[in-house]
Structures are given as structure tokens and as C-alpha cells.
């Protein structure tokens, strides 16, 4: 082993990346060669200087990163519910929102069916105000109710098929049109189709200054069985987190909702406004909450209010 090859091997020797036989050879050379030994010392000094530069991220920074990440996971993954998203998203959301499984594929059709059903109800005699409906295609959606042999007297081999038919209509209009809004409000309650509810809430939340919409959003936060819909409704109320009625519902959600993502969104919304009346409530949440992020958020809110975290 000569000086040139030792020079090249010193960094790897230092980092323990040499095979044992090469390491032995290098050590023998260093014992005998002062110039190479100085190089090895130089490498060691470099390493020591670099060690002093190392930063250990603070616990607070790590906690903030974790908090931001889980918020993003819980909150920002929800838009993948949109049926227009690629099919790959359905696998994850099907798992995350187990109740969605049944409506994965026929979502578009069933959404239209639901709207058609609501339209029929709202345009029935006695319904308030006629809708300005744009019927584009009178598609008929059929389903087979029964299949049976034809009645006596018919030709041999004849069968009778009973079809249920639904007329498909496309309704379009502005969201601030009261009739359209009524349709959307009804669709947001369609208990058979969380996709339609989610879409309706998503569209309506931009009109949360309207009282019926705000009531709907509060209702969906508290009642909707689907966490994606609840999150979307909660998102729609973020500008009303100072409203006592909204805060009351958010507090209920924070205590009772079984989905950590929804509770995270609720605690963020609640703690966006400092409110001394919440101290006891937040202390209680800290004691009982399982989710680290929710607890941490409550603790921070309490600290910001100069309140003690624990109860005595």
C-alpha cells in the first residue's frame, strides 16, 4: 500500500467502509508514514468540526411537523372523494370511509337518480315555486323488478319482464338560485348516497352566509354518518367559528365524534378564537382525548390563554 492509495482510502477508513484486510494494511502504513498520518488526523479534525455543526431539531419543531402532517392527511385527503378522481383513490377512501363501498362505481348514475328523485318531489303539486328545469335528455333508467313465465294463453316460451323505469333529467342553474339551492339542500340529506351529500355540501359551503346553508352545515357536522361529509361541512363553517351556535356544535363534535380527523378539524376551528369560557371544557378534553394532536392543540390553546392544562 503506497501513499497515493492510502490518501484515497483515508475517508473510507474513517467511516468504517473498508474491508478488514484493507483496514489492517492502511493502519500499518499510517504507523510508518508521518505524512499520511497527518492526513488521517486532518480527516479526523474535519469530522470533529462537522460534528459540532450538527443540528438536533427541537421537540417543538418535530411536534409541529407531526401536527401539520396529520392535519394534511386527515383534511386534505378528503377531496380525493370526488368521483372525478382516478380510480386509484377509491381504494384508499373505501378503507378510510367504510360506508362508501356500495356506491363506488355507480356514483354518477346514482347521483343523478337522487337528484331526479328530489326534483320530482319538489316539482310535485303543492311544492313551492316552479323550477326552471332544463331537460336535456329524457334518458330512462330501467331496473328489472321481476321475470316470470307469461300468463296463460300466451305463446309457448313467452316471458314477462317487469321493469321499473326512472326518467333522468339534468337540471342546471346558479347556486344562488333558491330552487337550485333547495335541490342541493335536499341532496345533502340523501341518506343513501354519501357521494351526493359530499358534493352538495362542498358546493353549498361557499354560500355559508345563507342561513339555511349554515343550518345544513351544522346539521351535517353533527349528524352525517360519513366523516368526509362532516369534514367538508366543518370546512364550510370556518369563517363562523366565533358564532356561539357553531361553537356549541363544534364542542359536541370534539367530544363525541369517533373520527380523529373530524375532531382535529373541530379543535382547530374552536381554538381559532380565544374564549375564556372554554378553559374548563378544553381541560376536560385534555384529560379524556386519545388523539395526541387533539390533546396537544387543546394544551396549546390553554397555554395561550394562560390557563392551567390540568384540573385540580
Amino acid at each position: 500500500m503506497n501513499c497515493e492509495s492510502v490518501t484515497k482510502l483515508i475517508p473510507f477508513y474513517f467511516y468504517g467502509e473498508l474491508p478488514p484486510e484493507e483496514e489492517d494494511g492502511l493502519e500499518q502504513h499510517l504507523d510508518a508514514c508521518a505524512a499520511c498520518a497527518r492526513q488521517a488526523e486532518s480527516q479526523r479534525a474535519l469530522s470533529a468540526a462537522l460534528d459540532r455543526r450538527e443540528i438536533q431539531p427541537s421537540a417543538a419543531l418535530l411536534a409541529e411537523c407531526r401536527h401539520d402532517l396529520m392535519r394534511a392527511v386527515y383534511r386534505h385527503e378528503a377531496p380525493a372523494l370526488r368521483p372525478a378522481q382516478p380510480a386509484a383513490h377509491w381504494g384508499r377512501l373505501g378503507a378510510w370511509l367504510p360506508s362508501l363501498g356500495a356506491w363506488r362505481m355507480p356514483l354518477g348514475a346514482s347521483a343523478l337518480l337522487a337528484l331526479g328523485f328530489v326534483t320530482a318531489r319538489l316539482t310535485a303539486p303543492g311544492a313551492a315555486g316552479p323550477l326552471n328545469l332544463a331537460t336535456i335528455t329524457p334518458d330512462v333508467i330501467s331496473s328489472v323488478r321481476s321475470v316470470q313465465p307469461a300468463h296463460d294463453g300466451s305463446q309457448p316460451g313467452e316471458v314477462q319482464i317487469v321493469l321499473d323505469e326512472t326518467r333522468r333529467r339534468v337540471v342546471s342553474g346558479q347556486l344562488n338560485d333558491s330552487n337550485i339551492q333547495r335541490l342541493m339542500l335536499a341532496a345533502a340529506h340523501d341518506e343513501n348516497n354519501p357521494g351526493v351529500r359530499w358534493q352538495s355540501v362542498d358546493l353549498l359551503k361557499s354560500h355559508s352566509d345563507s342561513s339555511p346553508v349554515r343550518e345544513l352545515l351544522l346539521n351535517r357536522i353533527a349528524e352525517d354518518p360519513n366523516p368526509g361529509v362532516r369534514l367538508k361541512a366543518l370546512d364550510g363553517l370556518k369563517t363562523f367559528t366565533g358564532d356561539p351556535e357553531v361553537r356549541k356544535v363544534l364542542a359536541q363534535v370534539l367530544v363525541h365524534d369517533d373520527n380523529a380527523g373530524v375532531r382535529i378539524a373541530a379543535v382547530d376551528a374552536l381554538t381559532a378564537h380565544a374564549d375564556d369560557d372554554m378553559v374548563g371544557f378544553l381541560q376536560g378534553v385534555v384529560q379524556k382525548e386519545d388523539n395526541t394532536y387533539v390533546r396537544r392543540r387543546c394544551v396549546k390553546a390553554l397555554q395561550d390563554m394562560n390557563a392551567s392544562v390540568g384540573t385540580f
Binding site: A49, R52, I55, S58, C65, R66, W96, A260
Partner: protein, 205 residues
């Protein structure tokens, strides 16, 4: 020197769920499992990002982007390499993008000039207690600046290999695997990086 990241990570995983089961649970959509998986690795990921980018803001962005990518693409993880390697491929790719953009923009040095004098933006981080000796302090400051200069002189790839080997304690073979290259190429990067730094630091050693 930093401990072997993979070893340290393994120790943090709950004995109740080994890593493969945890990953499968995440693939089934279990968000609690995801959180547990994140916690097994997030300290080392953040440490890498902070040390590499010397910016809390960028480190936070890298942290979030990396783990969100993991969350979104965990279905594609097929256990044909360790999860640690897979995760670090994602993290190092994102960090390399940041370093490359910085090379183009030449922005965000750790020490910035302010009307009140030079301000080290990394002061928010936990630091060793300051030396009482002012002369020693000055020497440390100058050495720190020289080191930053030396590291800035490395290519993003050299910087990455050096960071992973020196601070994260990863083997060159693993580093090559993470960066999609050979052990030999990682070795060459490390050699060039140490040589460049030794030249720049020169009389400070």
C-alpha cells in the same frame, strides 16, 4: 457521530406490530398505523432535512411532502426493499430538488445580514452551550462559516451522500440504493466531498 438510522428506527417501533404488519395496515387504510409508521421514522427524516437544508421552513415542507407522498403511494410499496430505503428515496429526492433549486437561485444562507448585524437563522435550534472563552467563540464562528462555505461548494449529490454518511450514519451501499446508484458511485461522491472540504477548511483543522 450519528447512529445508524435504520437501527435507531427499528428500536422505536412498537413490539406489538412489526414493520411489515404496520405497512400492510397502512395499505388497508389504517391511519393510526400510518401515524405509528411516521413516528418510527420522522425524527431521522426531520434531522436529515434540517441539517441538509439549514432552514426550518424548508425542512417542514420536506417533512410534510415526503410523508404525504408515502401516504399516497404506500399501495405501490411491494416489500422489494426495506421501507427505510423506500422512504429515504422519497426524502432524498425531495431534498435534492430543494438543493438544486437553491444552486440555481443561490438563496437562503443560514446567516443573513440584518440592520442589527448578522443573524443566524438556525439559532432557533437547540445548540450546545456557548463557550465562555470569547476567542474560542470567534474561532468557532469562523470555523462554522468556513464549513458552510465548504458544504455550499459541494454538488447537491455530493452533499446528500456526505450528509447521509456522516450525519445519518448510513452505509454507502444503502446510500447508493436510496439514490438509485451504485455503492461505487456513492463512494466516489463521498471521496470528492471530503477532499473538497479538507481543501476549503485547510488551516482550520
Amino acid at each position: 457521530m450519528a447512529q445508524d438510522a435504520a437501527g435507531a428506527v427499528g428500536a422505536r417501533l412498537s413490539p406489538k406490530l412489526d414493520e411489515a404488519n404496520l405497512i400492510r395496515a397502512v395499505q388497508r387504510g389504517d391511519q393510526d398505523a400510518f401515524e405509528q409508521l411516521v413516528r418510527a421514522y420522522d425524527q431521522s427524516v426531520l434531522r436529515l432535512a434540517v441539517n441538509l437544508l439549514r432552514s426550518q421552513e424548508d425542512a417542514r415542507d420536506v417533512f410534510q411532502e415526503a410523508f404525504l407522498r408515502v401516504f399516497r403511494s404506500i399501495d405501490s410499496f411491494r416489500f422489494d426493499c426495506s421501507f427505510h430505503t423506500w422512504l429515504y428515496r422519497i426524502v432524498t429526492n425531495i431534498c435534492l430538488d430543494y438543493l438544486r433549486k437553491r444552486k440555481v437561485r443561490k438563496e437562503e444562507p443560514a446567516v443573513v445580514d440584518t440592520p442589527e448585524g448578522p443573524l443566524d437563522r438556525m439559532n432557533d435550534f437547540e445548540e450546545e452551550a456557548a463557550h465562555a472563552d470569547p476567542e474560542r467563540n470567534l474561532w468557532n464562528v469562523q470555523l462554522g462559516q468556513r464549513i458552510e462555505g465548504a458544504l455550499d461548494g459541494l454538488t447537491p449529490r455530493e452533499r446528500m451522500v456526505f450528509e447521509l454518511r456522516h450525519y445519518q450514519g448510513l452505509r454507502l451501499r444503502n446510500i447508493g440504493e436510496m439514490l438509485g446508484t451504485s455503492e461505487e458511485a456513492a463512494k466516489n461522491c463521498l471521496f470528492r466531498a471530503t477532499q473538497k472540504m479538507r481543501v476549503v477548511l485547510g488551516d482550520f483543522q
